[in-house]
């Protein structure tokens, strides 16, 4: 999916889908039973096959890029379950992500909405210092201004009672992790290598305790951990909202930053970041040297993928006598194909019993801002997930992505369920001796 090219049908030339990519769909429908939005509506246009057909109709000038096409682009959870299910290799989620970018070109936002969107995507997120200041909980109301948000929630197209949910989801915030982590956390025991740690925005701001464990576990496992302080947002929110240009700028920065660090691997504990980092190669095609991109791509690992690959050193791990069930983040299992590894790690922990839930790889309904934009639908998707969690009777619900963790922790609390919701690395952290 290249940046600019000849105009394809009723798409604008900038960031349009490749015609080949939509033609690849032979409409077998294997994606239908895996699509949460199709399960909600039963309408073909809210299915991956239907969405690709809409994109194809726009490309073939049978349809304009209508409001309904735009709606479907944003109603797609981008969970990529359809990519996993598609034998033909169609990537409907990516086509929709591109269509989100089209939406902004075809339907430029009005002044207020536009400036707010630009403020978030182009000013706040690319700037870690600014982000950290604004997110200090006491300042959240004043600086970012929830009231300001309320006034402009229409421009953001957020769903009803989104604010209540957003507030409810907020974990108890500690100080951001980024300024606290040393550039180098030395390996313990026999050294096995040198990894760069990609600390994601949500992790440093909302789950500093999780990423602290990630670094600690990596060190305990024998790796020098390099955490570059200048790290910027991976670009996932920008891709999600259809701002591919800013995403490219961030990607270029991070690419150089980590290549300079001369690490064996680049590891992240955020599935959303991992999926995006693995897409840099495509995103930056024609903007960075191919070799550089390939080297970068070859180093990226999700933390669970990494530990399973190098082998978990289990000697000395403390037993944790708990039963756990594992919810697969979409951006880990579908976008990155990492499904077996987290389970392998869990099974290796002494004392832990893994109880599989039904539909472990079905989305939890968080999906970046989707859960706020479509709050009623999000609740339905979440209820389905919680019901499956309930049936396992496990003590702990494990996941591996901050978006899922926010949604699940909130959902479990609201539903009065007894489970603790934890990131896989918190569990590993509990098992790792001091």
């Amino acid at each position: 999916m290249s940046r600019t090219k000849d105009k394809l049908g009723n798409f604008t030339p900038q960031d349009a889908p490749d015609y080949e990519d939509v033609l690849q769909c032979m409409r077998c429908g294997f994606c239908l039973p895996t699509c949460p939005t199709f399960a909600l509506t039963g309408r073909e246009r809210s299915s991956p096959r239907g969405r690709v057909a809409l994109a194809r109709a726009v490309a073939e000038q049978k349809l304009e890029f209508t409001d309904a096409v735009k709606h479907e682009a944003f109603f797609c959870l981008d969970c990529r379950a359809c990519t996993t299910a598609c034998p033909s290799g169609v990537r409907a989620g990516e086509v929709m992500e591109i269509c989100r970018s089209q939406s902004h070109q075809q339907y430029p936002l009005k002044h207020v909405g536009k400036s707010f969107r630009e403020f978030i995507l182009q000013r706040m997120l690319p700037n870690p210092d600014l982000l950290e200041k604004s997110m200090l909980p006491a300042r959240l109301y004043q600086r970012l201004g929830i009231q300001w948000l309320v006034r402009h929630s229409k421009a953001l197209k957020l769903g009803p009672s989104w604010m209540e949910k957003a507030e409810g989801m907020m974990p108890d915030l500690e100080a951001p992790l980024r300024p606290q982590l040393p550039e180098l956390t030395p390996a313990r025991g026999e050294k096995r290598g040198r990894v760069g740690f990609f600390l994601g925005c949500i992790m440093t701001l909302m789950y500093p305790g999780v990423s602290r464990q990630t670094v600690r576990v990596l060190a305990h496992q024998g790796f020098d951990v390099i955490t570059p302080k200048q790290v910027k947002c991976c670009g996932a929110p920008h891709l999600n909202e259809g701002d591919r240009q800013t995403a490219r700028e961030l990607a270029l920065f991070n690419l150089d930053l980590f290549l300079k660090a001369e690490v064996d691997y680049i590891v992240t504990d955020c599935a959303g970041c991992g999926a995006t980092l693995k897409e840099y190669e495509e995103l930056l095609e024609e903007m960075a040297e191919h070799d550089k991109l390939a080297v970068f791509r070859a180093k990226i690992r999700d933390i669970s993928e990494f530990l399973a690959e190098v082998g978990l050193r289990t000697e000395g791990l403390k037993p944790v006598h708990k039963s756990v069930t594992y919810h697969e983040p979409c951006h880990l299992c579908h976008a990155q194909g990492v499904s077996r590894q987290p389970r392998d790690l869990i099974r290796q922990l002494p004392g832990i019993e893994l109880r599989e839930m039904e539909e472990a790889s079905w989305c939890c309904g968080s999906a970046a801002t989707w859960g706020l934009k479509f709050s009623a639908e999000s609740q339905q998707v979440l209820d389905r997930k919680l019901n499956n969690v309930k049936q396992t009777g496990a003590d702990i619900l494990i996941t591996a992505n901050p978006g899922c963790q926010l949604q699940l922790a909130w959902g479990v609390r609201e539903a009065g369920m007894p489970q603790d919701v934890m990131h896989l690395m918190e569990l590993l952290g509990q098992a790792t001796p001091d």
Binding site: N10, E20, L23, Q24, C25, M26, R27, C28, G29, F30, L32, P33, G42, R43, E44, R45, S47, R49, G50, A53, L54, A57, Q61, K62, L63, E64, T66, A68, V69, E72, C86, P87, S88, G89
Partner: protein
């Protein structure tokens, strides 16, 4: 063009959520899995009861709209494509399993129940619904009945028709009728339900299906055999049948298919082999043992390159699942996958493979062949690009030649996909003008005005309903 009043009437009867008339909805209800066929309906409805179907039928009649029933749109001959526009009647919201009758070994379901959901539901009661079309995860029972879907188990267990005991349907004259019942024997009058099975939505719209269930086999053994030459695989199939062994599954994949499937499933299929056979024998453990020995002996005798036995049910399940992705996986290599459904008497299998190879050469095409070798039902699939008219022309010539041979050998132009829009001319060739006349008389008896799924099964002169003509429904920008 449908009137605003009619839309309002539909909304009143069915509820606003069950009526779709926006272009974006209609655009995506005008196709199934058949390449190159796409027509735009004027309205789509999603009734949730048989009464809703009746109401929709009545309004369509009044408006003079053709009615096209649709399940999940996974058909492979254009059966659910609205060839002449009109109303697409989506049955996928009628998806309740109404009853599993353990005394009579039957299940009664609404037409929109997904095939695999029925399979799973009866399995929890220790029962077995065998028909398993490749798209069983998605396809609906109503669609299965309308197209008389087959599947991987057809060879031993038969096809959908063999399990249909009763049907509830809405007929074009506005009547709601039940035909058949739970009695194992029933010769009262014409077997109307059998006429409905495979009628592709041209005689009535099915709202409820009662199927026969059987006890599941107690044991299974799954073989995976590799071959250096696809004709040897064909010979192995013929010999197994001739040895009076009826496996539950005997599936073939050629090299192109193996590679595409392996690209997707990554379970270590042999990329360099000319063909593989997936063979499963099932039944009583003693019988399975005996048949497995027989299969093994024949595979050795024909000199299969390698013979493997699945180590457990999980591995066997993965192999069958991999096979089910064959058609979709072939779509990895080309934008268009034009597949056919030629079926030959099993003694002709080796010759059929030879003929497919010859024609592939003759027309310089890329072809992947897979299918239900055990029942002679092959899916030679031309991997092409619908934008290349010249290549498409060669692809059609390939099938013309192939069908000529298939018919000469006493085969059929469709084993399990139906005629729909894609194979009307081939059907005429197979059954001749006399056969077509009889079928048309039957169609007229049920649907004199021709409102039910027009443009299917029978060739007519209207160029708009010819296969591979994509209607241009351009909108001004």
């Amino acid at each position: 063009m449908i009137s605003k009043t009619a839309i309002q009437h539909l909304i009143d009867k069915l509820g606003a959520a069950n009526v779709a008339y926006e272009k974006e909805d209609l655009l995506v209800l005008g196709y199934d899995s058949t390449p190159g066929i796409h027509h735009l309906p004027e309205i789509a409805v999603f009734p949730t009861t048989a009464e809703g179907v009746l109401a929709a039928m009545e309004i369509a009649q009044r408006e003079g709209l053709p009615i096209v029933p649709r399940g999940s749109g996974t058909g492979l001959s254009g059966g659910s494509v609205p060839a002449k526009g009109g109303m697409v009647l989506c049955l996928n919201k009628m998806n309740r399993i109404l009853e599993i009758d353990e005394e009579n070994l039957t299940a009664t379901v609404e037409a929109g129940v997904v095939t695999l959901d029925l399979f799973n539901a009866v399995a929890t009661k220790g029962l077995f619904y065998p028909p398993d079309p490749g798209s069983q995860k998605i396809s609906t029972l109503g669609g299965n009945v309308m197209e008389d879907a087959g599947g991987l188990r057809g060879l031993k267990y038969g096809v959908t028709r063999d399990y249909v005991m009763a049907l509830q349907c809405v007929l074009p004259d506005g009547s709601l009728l039940t035909t058949g019942g739970k009695s194992v024997k029933d010769v009262a009058g014409y077997s109307f339900k059998d006429l409905l099975v495979g009628s592709e939505g041209t005689l009535g719209i099915i709202t409820e299906v009662t199927v026969k269930l059987i006890p599941p086999p107690k044991a299974k053994r799954t073989f995976l055999a590799y071959f250096d030459d696809i004709r040897t695989a064909g010979a192995a199939v013929s010999k197994i049948i001739a040895a009076k062994i009826i496996p539950s599954t005997m599936e073939i994949m050629d090299k192109a298919t193996i590679n595409c499937v392996e690209d997707y499933v990554k379970i270590g299929l042999p990329r360099q082999m000319a063909a593989l056979l997936l063979i499963e024998v099932d039944g009583h453990p003693a019988m399975v043992e005996e048949e497995a020995q027989g299969v093994d002996a024949i595979l050795r005798q024909v000199k299969a390159a390698e013979i493997h036995v699945a180590k457990d049910a999980d591995e066997a399940g993965k192999l069958a699942a991999a096979r089910r992705t064959a058609l979709s996986a072939l779509a990895r290599v080309s934008p268009t996958t034009l597949l056919e459904d030629a079926t030959v008497p099993r003694s002709r299998l080796a010759e059929t493979f030879a003929e497919i190879e010859r024609l592939t050469q003759k027309y310089q095409l890329k072809v992947g062949t897979f299918g239900h070798a055990g029942d002679g039902n092959l899916h030679p699939t031309v991997l092409c690009d619908e934008r290349n008219a010249e290549e498409m022309h060669r692809a059609h010539a390939f099938y013309d030649d192939l069908y000529e041979k298939v018919l000469a050998w006493g085969g059929t132009v469709s084993g399990e996909h139906g005629i729909g829009m894609a194979k009307k001319e081939y059907l005429a060739r197979q059954i001749g003008p006399g056969g077509v006349r009889v079928m048309k008389r039957i169609k007229n008896a049920f649907d004199p005005k021709g409102i039910l799924n027009p443009g299917k099964i029978f060739a007519d002169e209207d160029p708009c309903t010819q296969a591979h003509v994509e209607e241009g429904f351009r909108v001004s920008h």
